[in-house]
Amino acid sequence: MSKVKEYDIVIIGGGPAGLAAAAEAKRSGTDSVLILERDQELGGILNQCIHNGFGLHTFKEELTGPEYAARFIAQAEELGIACKLNTMVMDIGSDRVITAMNRQEGMFQIQAKAVILAMGCRERSRGALNIPGYRPAGIYSAGTAQRLVNREGLLPGREVVILGSGDIGLIMARRMTLEGAKVKVVAELMPYSGGLKRNIVQCLDDYGIPLKLSHTVVEIRGKERLNGVTIAQVDSKGKPIPGTEEDYCCDTLLLSVGLIPENELSRGAGVAISPVTSGPVVNESLETNIEGVFACGNVLHVHDLVDFVSEEAKAAGRNAVAYVQGRKKNVSGREISICPADGVRYTVPSTIRREMMDDKLTVRFRVGNVYRNCFISMYFDGERVMHRKRPVVAPGEMEEIKLEKEKLLSYPDLTTITVKIEEE
């Protein structure tokens, strides 16, 4: 193997998270930043997200996915950030030695002073759903169909049923319709949609595509090619209700049934993974339990909005540089834990060392159900310090709370911050 090269910051993944982390790391005072990307281009999944709606927070204008990516790629180029494409990271070893390979250099190792995990996420597949029936051609994840249509110029089929109402499924319902396919129905197992409300309006309602909540696919028909599916209503436990079955003729079934952070490398490195998010457990600096290993974007927890990915990734980039420059050496301060309760499924971060936090810290979280006319509340130990009224919160839409360092410092004995949903 070739000689080990050293970098201050090595970022794994050149999608929106990796690009934003890299630019911010460079701006925070180091020239030694490297992005490792397994695809032949930067930008990640944004390159196939040709729809608009990106960048309202970051650029104050509405961009498509490729345009949003192009701005960050141009930024990385202007900043002269080093980048290896077509490069697969095989392992993150102890002491942050990264083993990677590509066609030009073969297998090689890199010594990083800090690593930023920015590998993104993957779609949940049919195998994870236990749908009975044959395994014919014509069943795709929504993201695969998106790639085929938008990048390869291929239409996966003409008559489509979509299972799952995640955002990619909703976006593909519209996209396939525009390309001349007939999207017959979107079936969602849960009693609420997993996608953003705006996508139900502009991708389904605009085109008269029905959304059937509390429904799932109970049968797949066709031996060589899919020729139909059966959809049934489910009860409150998600079990199909006999007698509610409906047959649909279709040659294509798209699955939009959830995204899973891609943490094989993180696990290999000994990073502790949250069973709720499937992403690393991190502190206020977005640092994992392995010192000097940071995480951001969809590998940390699945986001709805790329703008928030960019924001989070900037924080990871900034914090990683502070760590490398010795400005974030672990002081022996008491750690505050953030505890999700009553309807709140998780928070990112999950611990805070207040001496290490920036003046303002964004805590992001998701709720486990749809709640109407509720309050998002925050407790500092027993004392309620925030009680914010919300007309509606839903699992498909990420929430956030801003914490101020000054306020935390005024509670010197604080041990637990609880975030919960309250009725009143």
């Binding site: 040709i50 498509t64 345009e67 938008n150 525009l178 705006r198 309006v201 502009q202 605009d206």
Partner: protein, 119 residues
Amino acid sequence: MEKRELICIGCPLGCPVTVSMEGGSILGVEGNTCKRGDDYARKEVTNPTRIVTSTVMVEGGTDAMVSVKTETDVPKEKIFDCIRALKGIVVKAPVHIGDVIVANAAETGVAIIATSDVK
């Protein structure tokens, strides 16, 4: 008085917006959290518009397709006409973000432009 309940599509927040109307004129907009929401609601009940995004084929480039969009929003009923205006179009590489693909899509007066670079 008539009330129309909408979900703003101006950004991914998706604010629930209520428009009060009387005989075709708008009396008020409630529930929006920004100016964009007010604009969206007024347009949606009078002349709903959308940005249309799609792809066209590229010849001699590193990619088979280039992504495109209408430069501004177009009337909702023109969506399929805009898509039809792209049918059969093949552009030659290189293509740059902002390049005009169709000057006046479906008589809307709006151009369709490239949203990605293809070398």
